[in-house]
Symmetry: C2
DNA sequence: CCAAAAGTGTTGAAGTTACACCCATGC
DNA sequence: GCATGGGTGTAACTTCAACACTTTTGG
């Protein structure tokens, strides 16, 4: 067994990130297109992810990988869990791809999955590193992914649902200024069910995390909506005592 | 980079298990005492855990390790998450211990933590493998543990709290036949707060998972309690549709 | 003036909380 | 007969779900 140097990539441990973005209409996921490689396949989309370095912790690794692959920085990131089936990388097209990018493509790899929430508008994507393109795909249109990434995506969706019910993390997905209708649509997208408009508004107003801006939408062909922003100070205050259930 | 053989231990990935047991009075955790080794230290207690094999999945590894270290089999097991700080094994006494049991004690190790619920009575513990003893320690008395195991324990307690609020897993901790008072005390132990007796009873009765046995406690110096068992069929039925909130 | 989305209150049902006394047994 | 924990109901309050119409703007 060779002694590991500190700054080596660890051949057995990776991170993968499920990055959610909201385009004010629907939820999207950030995926890496392997299609330009010579091993094109039907399901050439993968979650951004890579092996970790021995000297970085898991969170750091997730941040680094995301930045390297997509340019995203300073984003909300939370661990989903570890996925480590010995045969998670055994699909033929996945193995071929691995052989083209990894020193040790046969190694057993356990991946630590993260989910991440970003304001889509803040991140005009630039491709980099070995990934040809990073692209946003609507969650609802995704039917398969590389490796076990589809399974990871399912887990991410469940985690996000659970989390957003008790913690106001949805703001990470919205622009600075947003309307209650946009927030409403966001919650419906995540929870994948309709929410009564009036009840929803009452509830979010009561949680006291919205700061009304006394500005309105402009140039919309209907009654313009009030704009709000997220009240960061109130959030910090509430965070100390632990949030109460938002109960959607 | 050496090619890995399938049945090797993977030097970089371990599992650790937080095993909860309930003695009808309080919650306990199953710990491994390293105290017999020559490197005795103040905090010589550790969670049962070990490196995984390259051919087993994470759940299997957790089962195997638990069985090897403690003799426990066929138990409720759920992943908590991955813990992978590069310096999680850097305490002096931990390193000495690792050197005595591992081929490659310097390797970066990410551990996948699990929590597990067992009926204490079913498992008279027998020590085995490299662990000298497996012992039950009341959760409330644990103040430090080896490596980052104390941190893992905290995460396990939080997970258990969250889970038991929405899923009836508490039965895994009780004997076949139990009283409502025992169930009550169990929930109070896990949630670490008092629950109103009448409201608790009403609620658990309503969830329809209890089968009254029409037997009573015997030889108790007070009014004997009705005994119940967990209704497995009802559970399967409810599990299909998804449980509703138990809301403790 | 029309189309489109914004905004707003009430009511009935369900669920949650708080609370105090009698009961059956062993000793 | 007494000490111990077992077992039970109700009332006030809070939360939740369902539901329809008026408003403001752009075109």
């Amino acid at each position: 067994m060779p002694k590991k140097k500190v700054f080596e990539l660890n051949p057995n441990i990776s991170v993968d990130c499920v990055v959610f973005g909201f385009d004010l209409e629907k939820l999207n996921i950030l995926l890496i297109d392997r299609g330009e490689s010579q091993f094109v396949s039907n399901n050439s989309l993968a979650l951004p992810g890579d092996l970790i370095y021995n000297n970085e912790n898991l969170h750091q690794a997730a941040y680094r990988v995301l930045e390297e692959l997509t340019g995203l920085k300073n984003i909300y990131l939370e661990q989903i869990g570890a996925f480590g089936d010995p045969n998670r990388i055994s699909k033929e097209e996945d193995r071929l791809w691995l052989e083209s990018i990894r020193d040790n493509p046969e190694a057993r790899v356990v991946t630590i999955a993260y989910f991440s929430l970003v304001k889509m508008e803040d991140y005009p994507l630039k491709a980099s590193s070995f990934a040809k393109k990073a692209i946003w795909i609507p969650v609802k249109e995704i039917e398969k992914l590389a490796f076990d990434h589809f399974e990871i995506l399912q887990a991410a969706k469940i985690k996000l649902k659970e989390k957003i019910k008790i913690h106001p993390i949805g703001f990470n997905l919205l622009p600075e200024k947003f309307t209650l209708s946009q927030l409403h649509k966001l919650y419906e997208s995540i929870l994948d069910k309709e929410l009564d408009k009036r009840n929803f508004r009452r509830k979010v107003q009561k949680m006291n995390l919205l700061k009304r801006l006394f500005e309105k939408q402009e140039y919309v062909p209907h009654k313009p909506s009030e704009l709000y922003k997220f009240n960061e100070e109130k959030y910090q205050e509430l965070a100390k005592n632990g949030f109460n259930n938002f109960g959607f």
